[in-house]
């Protein structure tokens, strides 16, 4: 199983050697007496694609919301402020009665982007939605809505982009197009941290994996490291290996 990045020689090493753009130390978060995050630390480098995977309720959304500055951690520190981080929530955060262009323009203005009109035009170009600019977002397909959703996260040209389950609800073709878009961003130097419950997707597009289970970080490394960490799993596919990995650790 080869990562998508392995097909582009040098990309992985470039990401591994890039400067650290965000660093999280010992993050903890409780909801009542439920511990959603327990002592989670990690870092991400420029141009890196970091996949956060784990079962439902593992704490992926909680971790991304803390990175985004929506929630504050009970303990722990972050090296970046939320202004430098783009955030794309799991559910499209868009005004469905506004057009694609109106949504982009509103958020560009609120982000105090220097040149609103050219930024909006650029985003329409980049997302391939220029010809749908005048359509109300509510009339777009789920895939196109997700593209607008991501475009808004990119308006301020952040060094780090957070995507919470960006491909959920999309069909395979829409997913494919989404990932082409995300890979292009990463190639341009943006660090992308995404969560997913499609394990194959994490293996295919993630330079590195961060595995969460019950709020704990149980793995941090490349997909092949994870495969290697499960004994006698060479013949298994990645998803089976991942499930065995979790089971052996009691999750």
């Amino acid at each position: 199983m080869a990562s998508a990045r392995d097909q582009a020689p040098g990309a992985l090493s470039a990401a591994a050697e890039g400067e650290v753009v965000i660093e999280a130390r010992s993050l903890r978060k409780r909801f009542g007496n439920r511990e959603a995050l327990r002592d989670v630390s990690f870092e991400a480098r420029a141009g890196e694609l970091l996949a956060i995977i784990g079962p439902n309720g593992a704490g992926k959304t909680t971790l991304l919301s803390i990175l985004a500055g929506i929630r504050s951690p009970d303990e722990g520190t972050l090296s970046r402020t939320r202004e430098e981080i783009g955030w794309v929530p799991q559910q499209a955060a868009l005004y469905r009665k506004l057009t694609v262009e109106e949504n982009l323009r509103l958020f560009a203005r609120l982000e105090a982007v220097a040149d609103v009109e050219s930024t909006v035009a650029e985003m329409l170009e980049q997302t391939g939605l220029a010809d749908r600019r005048g359509d109300q977002v509510g009339t777009l397909s789920g895939g196109n809505q997700q593209r607008v959703n991501i475009a808004i996260g990119l308006l301020a040209r952040p060094a780090v982009l957070l995507l919470d389950e960006p491909s959920s609800g999309l069909d395979p073709r829409q997913r494919e197009r989404l990932w082409q878009f995300v890979l292009a961003l990463s190639d341009a130097g943006t660090s992308v941290i995404f969560s997913t419950h499609y394990i194959q997707e994490a293996e295919r597009y993630g330079d590195r994996l961060l595995v969460l289970a019950d709020g704990e970080r149980v793995f941090d490394g490349t997909p092949s490291d994870l495969h290697a960490a499960v004994p006698d799993s060479r013949s298994d596919d990645f998803e089976s290996a991942f499930v065995r990995f979790l089971r052996e650790r009691g999750h």
């Binding site: 919301s65 985004a68 500055g69 929506i70 929630r71 939320r82 202004e83 955030w87 929530p89 559910q91 499209a92 955060a93 868009l94 005004y95 469905r96 009665k97 506004l98 109106e102 509103l106 958020f107 203005r109 609120l110 982000e111 105090a112 109300q136 808004i152």
Partner: protein, 456 residues
């Protein structure tokens, strides 16, 4: 400055969303119908039996009789209290307090000399008896109600009395014209034989005729002519006496409250109800929409703080309040006179009322968190509050009325109506309801802010 611009962008966004929402169209059709119904109810409504305090200052042993017709006091009271709910008050002071506190709609006082004067009606020195009515005209609807009820009662009493009086007065006239026996029991005067004008003229004529022509007295002819003339003229006095339609006079005193005219009050109600529905529904829906579209976390992430978003919603509510109410008043001014020289106060009233309703709507939107639920909640809360706030004191149980008063202070409807009345009619002071509204804005904005904690 940049925060102000952010509010500007959000406002522009909300107004654009508004134009694209079918809810607005529905609102613009539904609310005038609602207002018409509400005002219709308010003006035509009236409890079956208004509570009226009853003070009887007449010494108990006195009897009422007019021209021999005995008025049975117990029966009279039963008759009276069959139409209104009589609450016995010990004295004038207690009645005054009951009216001022809104325990009763009005107080009816029978003064100590009432029976004496009533009895005198059929006598030779009639004095008009007076009943005193104390009313608390907090609003013209209630004022009208009191007036109608009391007037109906007094008119009925007057009808009976005037019949008795004119019958009695008629018999006096008959006595004067035709002669007969007369007694004044109070003075111990027994059967007095009254000669009568007819007989006097006859007697005088006979005397004159029996006298020799030479000794006829110069004045005698004149006396005879006078007696004849008087008799003729007094025949016409009887029907004239019957025209005394109001033996009892009503002395009305307003205990507290000032009365704006009904027209201005109806306009104030219309304006306030309009303001309420448009603003509450709009602001509640608009705030809930931020959450429903998941936009809130994105905004709250450093772009627009929750407090600023709340301020934007209040501004939206006030802007729409001003536009809609101004439009409505302009339309109404085609039918009724609106005193535009008080424009500044009217504008202040609209802004203050709009702010109160906007904060109330924001609280509903913040707590309901989705557009449908918030609209439903807005209808379910605002409609009864408006109805209950229009209940005049004295028409319901005192305990219930205390609850109504709490409601009036706790919700923006009553103070908005008061500032609107102050603006439109110059009725009452604008400051107490303005302060009430300021407190309402603070409290409901706080509630909204609390609800927004669960938006993210």
């Amino acid at each position: 400055m940049s925060r102000l611009r952010a509010v500007g962008w959000l406002l522009a966004k909300d107004l654009r969303l508004l134009r694209r929402s079918p809810l607005v169209t529905a609102l613009l059709i539904v609310y005038p119908i609602l207002i018409a119904v509400l005002i219709g109810f308010a003006l035509s409504r009236g409890p079956e039996k208004p509570r009226v305090a009853f003070v009887n200052e007449i010494p108990t042993e006195e009897q009422a009789s007019v021209g021999g017709t005995e008025f049975d006091k117990a029966e009279t009271r039963a008759e009276l209290c069959g139409r209104i709910e009589c609450i016995d008050a010990a004295d004038r002071e207690e009645a005054q307090r009951m009216v001022a506190d809104g325990e009763v709609l009005a107080a009816l006082i029978l003064p100590a000399d009432f029976l004496e004067r009533l009895n005198s009606l059929a006598g030779l020195d009639p004095q008009q008896p007076t009943v005193e009515v104390l009313v608390n005209e907090e609003d013209p609807v209630k004022g009208q109600l009191v007036d109608d009820r009391i007037r109906a009662l007094i008119t009925e009493a007057n009808l009976i009395l005037s019949q008795a009086v004119s019958e009695q007065a008629g018999s006096y006239l008959d006595l004067i014209v035709d002669g007969g026996s007369f007694s004044v029991p109070f003075l111990g005067i027994g059967d007095l034989e009254i000669l009568g004008l007819r007989r006097s003229a006859q007697i005088l004529s006979e005397i004159r005729d029996s006298l020799p022509a030479s000794s006829r007295l110069e004045g005698l002819d004149q006396v005879i002519r006078f007696a004849e003339l008087a008799r003729e003229n007094l025949k016409f006095a009887l029907p004239l006496l019957g025209a005394i339609a109001e033996p009892i006079a009503v002395d009305k005193q307003v205990v507290s409250g000032e009365t704006p005219s009904l027209d201005a009050f109806a306009i104030a109600v219309a304006a306030t109800v309009t303001l309420m529905f448009v603003t509450v529904l709009l602001v509640a829906g608009s705030l809930a929409l931020e959450r429903e579209e998941n936009a809130f976390p994105r905004l709250a992430r450093g772009l627009v703080s929750p407090g600023l978003l709340l301020a934007e919603k209040l501004a939206l509510g006030i802007a729409v309040s001003v536009a809609v109410t101004a439009l409505m008043l302009a339309g109404l001014s085609a039918f009724v006179a609106i005193e535009w020289d008080r424009l500044a106060v009217i504008a202040l009233a609209i802004v203050a009322g709009g702010a109160g309703f906007a904060a109330f709507g924001a609280a509903l939107g913040g707590l309901a968190r989705d557009v449908r639920a918030s609209s439903l909640l807005a209808f379910m809360v605002a409609l009864p509050v408006a109805f209950l706030s229009l209940i005049p004191s004295g028409t319901v149980e005192p305990g219930l009325y205390t609850a109504v008063e709490v409601l009036r202070v706790a919700f923006p409807f009553a103070p908005s109506l008061e500032v609107m009345s102050a603006g439109l009619e110059g009725a009452g002071s604008i400051w107490p309801p303005l302060l009430n509204l300021a407190a309402i804005v603070l409290i409901y904005a706080g509630l909204a802010r609390f609800g927004m904690r669960r938006f993210a």
